[in-house]
């Protein structure tokens, strides 16, 4: 999960390296730290360093981490030949290593040889039954084969043991959404919000799922979570502001003619609309007329 400032820094470094301004190693380290997926750039710049004896020797022991990073990037870019070379180099240096074994398994996955990959992972799991990365590779294989039901099952099993793995909860939520099991996706986000209540992304994602599920209770809850996202992001999150507007309109449509009990949040929608218009005026004036017309239209409806 990469925040806006971190992404800006990453992009800045990327442009710098692309234009020959150096700092390739710093860029690669940042990509690794943020777990960003920039495989083409990593491959290009990583290979450049690996091919140059001078640059490589400057890295010292870190050279092997780079081999690993480039191997994975190469597989993502369909350059299995490069990945193979990197893995051979690592294999020679670290014979019998589980980390290298995992890479060998991944290479088989990249080639589409699922049964062979599963065999390697099964062997590795014998000595290391709680290796999180290998357990997650099982999920990845199921997902890559299009077997989303199995992927969901494996991931649920994994989370029974490793319930603090937030990335896994997020992946499970996204898997559920892709097969339209929204209630289960909502449950995942609830777990995430419970364990990390100050991360706005979870509140926003939860609100989105609630809105998608629909129905008065869910829409009212969605509005609350859009509001908490706004709280946690200082009002700067465009999606949350739009979310307030959309959920307010939907709620009003459902409660037309009924007594409106929610008087306390009646001023939330106009405030959100105002904040949106202000932001568009400053940063996207060519869209201001369109957004104004849209907000005006839906205010008319409500």
């Amino acid at each position: 999960m990469v925040g806006a400032t971190e992404e800006a820094r990453l992009n800045q470094l990327e442009t710098q390296v692309d234009n020959g301004g150096g700092e390739a190693w710093e860029y690669l380290c940042l990509v690794r730290k943020l777990k960003a997926r920039r495989s083409e750039k990593v491959l290009r710049h990583g290979i450049f360093i690996l091919n140059s004896h001078i640059a490589r020797s400057k890295l010292g022991g870190e050279e092997w981490t780079l081999y690993e990073q480039v191997a994975v990037a190469a597989m993502d870019c369909h350059r299995n030949d490069i990945a193979n070379d990197c893995i051979e180099a690592l294999s020679k240096k670290f014979p019998g290593s589980i980390r290298v074994g995992r890479l060998k398994g991944m290479l088989l996955e990249a080639k589409g040889a699922w049964p062979d990959a599963e065999k390697i992972y099964a062997q590795l799991l014998v000595d290391n039954p709680l290796d999180q990365i290998i357990l997650k590779r099982k999920v990845a294989i199921a997902k890559a084969q299009g077997n989303l039901a199995a992927a969901v099952e494996y991931l649920n099993n994994y989370l029974e043991t490793f319930m603090a793995d937030h990335d896994a909860w997020r992946e499970l939520a996204e898997l559920y959404i892709s097969i339209q099991m929204y209630k289960q996706a909502a449950f995942c986000y609830e777990e995430l919000i419970l364990s990390q209540p100050t991360i706005p992304l979870y509140h926003l994602a939860y609100a989105d799922v609630l809105y998608t599920m629909g129905g008065l209770e869910n829409l009212q809850a969605a509005k609350k979570y859009y509001a908490s996202t706004i709280n946690l992001t200082g009002g700067k999150n465009t999606r949350a502001l739009y979310g307030i507007c959309l959920s307010s309109v939907a709620i009003n449509q459902l409660t037309k003619g009924r007594n409106k009990d929610e008087k306390d949040s009646a001023d939330l929608q106009p405030l959100a609309a105002e904040a949106l218009l202000k932001d568009y005026k400053e940063r996207a004036p060519e869209k201001l007329a369109l957004v104004t017309a849209m907000l005006r239209n839906i205010k008319l409806v409500s």
Binding site: S178, D208, Y211, T212, L246, Y280, K287, L290
Partner: protein, 207 residues
């Protein structure tokens, strides 16, 4: 809807493919804008002219709020040009997945309610891969339309709706853009919501 033809402009077509190329490891989707030409001239079949497309999302496909938002804003914007939403495009996450996903069908159903000749385009990865080698003029997409049994049917056999590009050299132009990695410049609705200064109309993409 048996004898309706579908013609997609170079601009709409290329935006769609570039959008998919920009986000190779996820599904992408977008809206198709255009109008229906009742009489194709000289008694020819009615034709749906797809003149533009708006890339929507590469990460939030299953959730509703942003789709609704985009539908409202896109309809509002293009109404003044006399264009309406005539279809939807989708590219699956996996290379060998040629099925229309549940989400794609649902969105297609919604568009169908307002435009019965709605077109659903699914990116054909194998055709896209083969593009640099062959000299094909066919668009690299599978066309689905709603048939009388209320399901989305792929058209591929003779006598069913055909999809052609308005400009015959569309694939040549597409290949040219691909060689310059033009996909980096495509902005979708997702990108706009992350940074509203980015314009989902992509006004400068083809300049």
């Amino acid at each position: 809807m048996g004898d309706c033809r579908y013609q997609i402009s170079q601009c709409a077509y290329i935006k769609f493919v570039l959008h998919a190329l920009k986000h190779r490891s996820s599904s992408v989707n977008g809206l198709l804008l255009g109008r229906l030409l009742e009489d194709g001239g000289g008694g020819a079949a009615p034709t749906v002219l797809i003149s533009d497309s708006v890339p929507l999302s590469h990460s939030q496909i299953g959730v509703l709020p942003y789709l609704e938002l985009a539908l409202i804003q896109v309809e509002e914007h293009f109404a003044s040009d006399g264009l309406t939403i005539v279809g939807y495009y989708h590219a699956n996450e996996r290379y060998d997945d040629t099925e229309l996903s549940g989400a794609a069908k649902k969105i297609g159903d919604h568009i169908f309610r307002y435009f019965p000749q709605a077109a659903l385009l699914l990116l054909d990865n194998k055709k896209l891969e083969g593009l640099p080698k062959g000299k094909g003029r066919d668009p690299v997409a599978q066309l689905f339309t709603r048939d009388s049994s209320r399901s989305w049917r792929s058209t591929g056999s003779v006598g069913s709706p055909q999809l052609t590009t308005k400009e015959p050299s569309a694939n040549v132009v597409l290949l040219d853009f691909m060689s310059t990695e033009k996909w980096n410049e495509v902005v979708d609705f997702d990108d706009h919501l992350d940074d509203i200064s980015k314009d989902w109309l992509n006004p400068d993409l083809f300049k």
